[in-house]
Every structure is written in C-alpha cells, then in structure tokens.
Amino acid sequence: MENALVANGLVKRFGDKVAVNHLDLAVPRGSWFGIVGPNGAGKTTSIRMIVGLLRPDQGAVVVNGIDVWPDPTEVKRMVGVLPDDLRLFERLTGEELLVYIGLLRRLDRTAVVSRAEQLLDVLGLTNAANDLVADYSTGMRKKIALAAALLHSPSVLILDEPFESVDPVSSKVIVDVLQHYRSSGGTILFSSHVMDTVERLCDQIVIVSSGEVVQSGSIQELTQSSSVRLEDVFIDAVGGPGAQASESLKWLRQP
C-alpha cells in the first residue's frame, strides 16, 4: 500500500536530552495510524517535527511524496494538525477563529464561512460559536481545534492526544467526525496513551519509548489476533513501574 507519510531516522535533542532517537514511521494512505507511548516518550516532539513546527536535528519526513524539510510550506497545505498544547487565539470567538484560519489558508471567504458553520454544527458548537475561545471548556477547545484542522480538507490529519481530557460525549463526536473523514479517503496519524481507544480505532501502531520505536505492526499482529490485550503489549514494551504500590505504600490504608 502506498504511504501517505514516511519519517526516516528522526532525531531531536534538547540540550543533553535526546527526545527523539532515530524514529522511523511509515503511514499507509487511508489508514488510521497510532503512535503510542508513555508520558515523555517523544510523541509530541515527533509530531511537531512531522508537521513542520520543529526542525529535526537529523532525519527526514515525506508527506504525499513531498519532503517536509527544509521548507514545510507545501506540506502544511496538505495536513491538518490538532496539537496537544491547545494554545489558540483566545480572544476570537470559535467562528472567528475558523474563518481566520480559513482565510490564512487562502480559502474563499464564502466557502470558509459555510464550512465553519457546518463544522460547528457537526461538532455541537453552534451555540458557542460566538463565545470567546477563552471561555471554552477543554472538550470544546479540542473540537474547535479539530474543526480548524479539518477546514481545508487535508489529505492527512495529524492529531496529538485528541481524546485527552475529553468527556465521553465529546469523544464520540470527535470519533464520528474522524471516521467520516477516514471513510472518505483521509489518512489519520494520532498519538495517545489510552490503549482502549487505540485498539478500537487504529489499523497500525508504533510503540514509542524514550524517543525510540520499541515495537510496531498492525493491531492484529501485536495482540496476536486479540489473544492478548494491547495494554499488556504496551506495558511489556515500555516496561512497568519500578516497585509494586502494595509493597511500597503500606502506610496508605484506612484504619
């Protein structure tokens, strides 16, 4: 199958710390691809390098046959991004934010306004369309950021922890939108450490730990056709806690 996105040997260092260490990815077109890993594994850093927000120290990223670096401009037109750290323009309303992003992406104003209204409707944000983003809840912020990522109908959607801190209702709305996007031929790359969600949605995953891929394959392969849980595979791959809580925290009991 043709790959929509390929990353080869990505490396990023912050001072002495190696955040990402020769990371390789190959995301097939039309797939739902997951990057999973514990906190601090380098998922967010990898995604930022893939979408052109953070310059890698080494390695290359190719999206739809176009090299992201050194000039990510062309690739940014093809991808939609939902980052983990949702710093948005807090003093725009949700609708203004979408129109602003659409116009910056050189979309026609009429189309932008129309798409914005539809996205707000589908994502259940119509009533909050004229509220400032600053007043949005976490779930609403995720949804408005997802709308901003979808506005230009990207061929690849890259989502960093899209379900983190989101309530089940908002989560279902997001999943519905993403499934529709995928069924229309879109490719989704997303990071998470919620194994249930990953197991339910993804075709393929890579497990990342300390900036390196420690395991990869389809969900079927990794779970041996559901004979083991993905969570167990994940814990085996990244290593469990150093000490058993029941042994170390004996004082933590009620009289």
Binding site: L53, P70, R77, L88, L103, D108
Partner: protein
C-alpha cells in the same frame, strides 16, 4: 499558639524555598548578582542612615524621609510591577488548604518578610536607624518600635494593594480603572520627579510632601524622637501603629474576600456579536481583522493604550515644565515623544501571544501580511496619545497651528516607528503572554531587561535618523505656503523604508518559522 508558630515557620520556609529555587533556576550569574545587590542594598541603607549620626539635624530628617519613602514605594509597588517575583502574594494559592484566616495571615506575613528583598531592606533599615538615629532618651524606645512599624506598614500596604488589585481585575472595567489610576499616579510622579530635578527649594517641597505619605509616618516618629520631642514622637508612633492595624486588617479582609468570591479573569463569559472578521477575504484582510478584534478584546492592548496615553501626555507636560509655556515650538514637537510610551508594543509584534503562533505557522504564516497587519494596528496606540498630548499642549501654550502641523506630521513619524518595529520584531522577538495582569512587567524575570534597553535605545536612534530629513525640511519651510504640503511628502517618504522593511522581513522569516516557534514558545514543545 504552637499552631501559629508552626504556620510562621511554614511561611518562612515556603518563601525561602521559592526564592532559592528561583535563583538556582536562573543560573549562577543571576544568583551571585542578586545576592550582591541585596547585600549592597543592606550596606548602603545602613551606611546612609548610620552616617546621619554625624550630620546636621536637617540633613538627617531629609535622608530618612527620602530613604523610607523610596523603600516604601519599592516594597509596595515592586511585587506588583515585577510579575511573578513573589508567589506567596496570592492568597488563592492557599485556598485549598484547611487554614483559618489567622493561620493564612501568619503564613503570608512570615513569607512576606523572608525574601531577599525584604530581608535586605529590613536589615539595612534597622541597623542604620539604630546607629544613626538612636540617642539617649526617648529615641531608645521609639526607634526600634518605629522601625518595626515601618516594616509592617510596608508589608501590609503591599499585600493589601495586591489583593485589592486582584479584586479590581475581576471585571474589565475594574481592571481598566485600576490601570488608569496607576498610570495617572505614575505619570504624576514622573512629572514631579522632573520638577524635583531643579534641586533646592523644589526638592525641599518634595521631601515635605513625601513626609505626609502615611507609609513614612514612622520616619516622622523617629525624627521627632531624635530631637527629643517625646509627645509628638509618641503621637506619630501611635498613628503609625493604628495604620499598621488598619492595613493588616484590610489585607486579611481582602484576602478572605478573594477566597470566598474566587479570582476570575476579566474575560469571563463574553458573548460577542457575530462579526466573523467583518468583510475580510484575503490573508492580509484576515490578519488585519484579527488585529482589530484584539485591539478591543486583548487586555494588553487596552492597558497599553491607557498607559501610553497617560505617559504620553506626561511626556508632553514635561516639555512644558522644562521649557515653559512660552516655548511653544519645543512643547509642540515634544508631543511626538508620546510615541515612546508604546514603543515596546511595536518592536515585538511576533512575540505577542507567541504560544498561538503555531496556528498561523501551519496556515502558511507569519509572513508579510501578518507583520504588516500587526504593525499597522499599533498606529492608534502611537497616534492617539500623541494627538491627546497635542490637545494638552495646545491648551497650555495656545500654539494650535503648530500643534496641528506636528499632529499631522506624527503620521509619517509613526510609520518610521513601525519601520523600526518591523525590523526589531523579526530580529529580536520575545515571548509576551496576553495575560490579564496589567501591572506585571510581562517581560520581567526572563533575562531580557538589557535586550529591551538596547532595543529601545536603538529604536530611538533609528527613528530619529529616519525622521531627521522630515524635520530638516519642515524647519526650513516655516513661513512658506508649501509647509502644509510637507506632511504628504513625508508620508510618501516614510512609506518607502516601511515597504522595504516589510519585504526584507518576509524574506528573512521564510523558512525560519520553526526556529521562531522554538524561540518563542519553547515551553509548549516539551
């Protein structure tokens, strides 16, 4: 009682830990320089006050009044102006702990007395007063008591002010009113300071005025005790003690109010009319429309406008004060100095709310349209204070024609300011959060103080050089009919470097967007 002692120890340890961690994080040089500054401040105060023992009575009075007034102003306004220096100032951080009002007060009081600044100030003041102002007689009793009073007064005033400001900022009107009041107070002090520069009688008047500030009453108690006037000394001491009680009671009450009513931002729950970036259909239009929206909704902009207006008018008033109402030319051209009050907003347009920059980078920005929009939107903040200063100067000097000419010339001069702003914003951006606290120096504690000074000085020189041809032609054209056409020529002249700077900025930024994000929003990367 044991509980209160325990709380006091906790407060001391909390502040000490916060201060030492902060210094450790800032690096060896900052740690050393902070310790050096604190030690120097202690020694300086001790020596200046201590040497009063050998000086005249009048000199001793002036020294103590000036020193205590400056110390009080620094103590009260320092934590407010330098955001984040003292985290213990905010009572809401203790909101979840099961503390009574008294316990919370003890924690905060002990923390307030413990940082490097308070310790340095207290040590210098107490040592200096004991050496320089204690004589046999009543002063043996009054000086120590008044010293304690002075410290408690400063702590109480600083904390009450911080709590009152936090309450004021719970609404937009309250915040803007507080900003306006602070700006007017600051502007007045600025003008008074210019007056005081003409030493002699004016300086004496200033010292006499300072002596009436309630925070300086302990100094009056000490000065009268030093002269052996027992009754007045006790009078001032009782007045000071009463004020201490009142300020600390206010502090407790205000903190309690904040905890009960919660701290909320001035932006809470705003629903706006539908504007959808009214009419914008291009990238530049969108960028400009967003900037226009931010001009109204962003606290930074409204605060900048208020500060700029008040200090701009103050700059103009200084011209009048220094040159006299008779020198209309100097005063009229002096209104252009009002632009300096908002220079910081122009020279860092990319650093503003830098955390959100990624969203523009992903949408193929920030390029020339963004830079141009961000710069142009600064024009009102440059021009309105200048024009208002012009009105003040016009009323004062009657030179309305000249004021009108300079007010029109202000437009091309403002374009020159923007030209420098384009270059500085691209070359030296600094992250600037769009937060609600209008009093905190948003670039403090980031090690950028020197850079800001360099940018400001370079800006003044560059703008002066760019504008020099305009002034030369205007001064040579006084009395000729074409004088009033010159502003149009100046506008065309100013547009050229502005356009070139924009072209250069677009070229310079291309491909550097990730570096820009890394530099400005590095905390968001990990």
């Amino acid at each position: 009682m044991n509980s209160l002692v325990h709380m006091a120890r906790l407060g001391v340890s909390l502040r000490w830990r916060l201060s030492s961690n902060r210094l450790r994080r800032r690096g060896k040089h900052t740690r050393r320089s902070t310790i050096l500054v604190a030690a120097s401040y202690t020694v300086l105060n001790a020596v200046v006050l201590g040497s009063a023992r050998f000086g005249s009575e009048a000199a001793a009075v002036k020294t103590l009044t000036l020193l205590m007034a400056s110390m009080a102003l620094g103590w009260v306004f320092g934590p407010v102006l330098i955001g984040g220096v003292d985290e213990t100032i905010d009572p809401t951080r203790l909101a979840l702990l099961p503390l009574s009002s008294t316990e919370r007060y003890i924690v905060q009081l002990s923390a307030a007395m413990t940082g490097p600044g308070p310790l340095a100030a207290t040590a210098g003041l107490v040592i200096g007063l004991m050496v320089g102002y204690t004589r046999l007689g009543i002063s043996i009793l009054v000086v120590p008591l008044a010293s304690i009073c002075a410290i408690l007064l400063m702590v109480g005033a600083a904390r009450s002010l911080a709590a009152a400001l936090a309450i004021a900022q719970r609404s937009r009107v309250g915040r803007d009113f507080a900003v306006l009041a602070a700006a007017i107070a600051g502007g007045s002090l600025f003008i008074v300071a210019q007056l005081a520069r003409d030493v002699g009688a004016r300086a004496d008047a200033l010292i006499k005025a300072l002596a009436w500030i309630p925070l300086v009453w302990p100094a009056r108690a000490i000065n009268t005790a030093r002269r052996g006037e027992g009754l007045p000394a006790f009078g001032w001491l009782v007045a000071s003690l009463t004020l201490v009680v009142a300020l600390h009671a206010a502090w407790i009450w205000l903190s309690h109010f904040l905890l009960i009513n919660g701290e909320r931002g001035s932006q809470s729950r705003q629903r706006t009319n539908r504007s959808t970036l009214s009419g914008a259909s291009t990238r530049f239009g969108a960028a400009l429309a967003r900037q226009l929206i931010y001009l109204r909704r962003s606290p930074n902009n409204s605060v900048g406008f208020l500060y700029g207006t008040v200090f701009g008018i103050s700059f103009a008033m200084v011209q009048i004060v220094q040159h006299g109402a008779g020198n209309g030319t100097a005063s009229a051209f002096g209104i252009l100095l009002a632009m300096l009050a908002n220079l910081g907003a122009v020279t860092n347009v990319l650093g503003f709310d830098a955390g959100s920059l990624w969203i523009e980078v992903l949408a193929d920005g920030p390029g020339r349209p963004h830079i141009m929009a961000r710069q142009l939107i600064a024009l009102p903040n440059l021009l309105v204070p200048t024009w208002l200063s012009g009105v003040v100067v016009g009323i004062w000097t009657g030179e309305w024609t000249l004021v009108l000419l300079v007010s029109i010339l202000a437009i091309p001069i403002a374009i020159n300011v923007l030209t420098f702003g384009v270059v500085a914003s691209v070359l030296a951006p600094a992250a600037l959060p769009d937060w609600d606290n209008p009093f905190g120096n948003r670039q403090s504690n980031e090690g950028r103080g020197l850079r800001l000074v360099v940018i400001a000085l370079t800006g003044m020189v560059s703008i002066a050089v760019l504008s020099a041809p305009i002034f030369m032609v205007v001064f040579r054209s006084f009395g000729y009919w074409w004088l009033w056409l010159l502003p149009f020529g100046a506008l065309a002249y100013a547009a050229v470097p502005f356009g070139l700077a924009l072209l250069w900025a677009g070229w310079y930024l291309h491909g550097k967007e990730p570096d820009l994000i890394e530099a400005l929003a590095s905390r968001a990367l990990n």
